[in-house]
Amino acid sequence: GQQVMQIPQYQHVQEGEDFTTYCNSSTTLSNIQWYKQRPGGHPVFLIQLVKSGEVKKQKRLTFQFGEAKKNSSLHITATQTTDVGTYFCAGKDSSYKLIFGSGTRLLVRP
């Protein structure tokens, strides 16, 4: 079945440093989504990428979708303590299901 792998599992950075998490799918995706889960909270939708090679930005966050539509990345520039949480990618094929990656937990030292 379809699998979505996400690395790294954890990332501990100093405030102000950059952060990147990577997502790889075993199959071609129709779209990929990113979610953020704050400690103790529930996942919240951040963004969706649909087109091959698409790049979207949200303030300090940059999201990319690979040319083959099988991988994606989220890059945060100059992390802040408010960025703490777990970031999940979720890939969608033609079904009703989203397949979530295992998540990257970001810790930021002030």
């Binding site: 529930h42 969608k92 979530f100």
Partner: protein, 110 residues
């Protein structure tokens, strides 16, 4: 606007006891609904999804079951809880390609 409710927020149950978790959605009709489980520090595991009343698809065979007695109500049940059923249970509904999560129920089985 659409909202999604889950209750209870937290639950502590003994091994072998029954379980019933409820999820309701407001502000939309005929939503696709999902149950996920998240073990501590882990990713999201899809348990069940439903595209309509009485229509349930199971993703992982286990001692849990789901029902959808009404359009905007989704229930997760078990006849006998296991220790391994502990986790964070999240209900979600789908709008377009995006999933929106409820606040979740934290279940601890002792």
């Amino acid at each position: 606007s659409q909202t999604i409710h889950q209750w209870p927020a937290t639950l502590v149950q003994p091994v072998g006891s029954p379980l019933s978790l409820e999820c309701t959605v407001e502000g939309t009709s005929n939503p696709n609904l999902y149950w996920y489980r998240q073990a501590a520090g882990r990713g999201l595991q899809l348990l069940f999804y439903s595209v309509g009343i009485g229509q349930i698809s199971s993703e992982v065979p286990q001692n849990l079951s789901a029902s959808r007695p009404q359009d905007r109500q989704f229930i997760l049940s078990s006849k006998k809880l296991l220790l391994s059923d502990s986790g964070f249970y999240l209900c979600a509904w789908r709008q377009g390609e995006t999933q929106y999560f409820g606040p979740g129920t934290r279940l601890l089985v002792l």
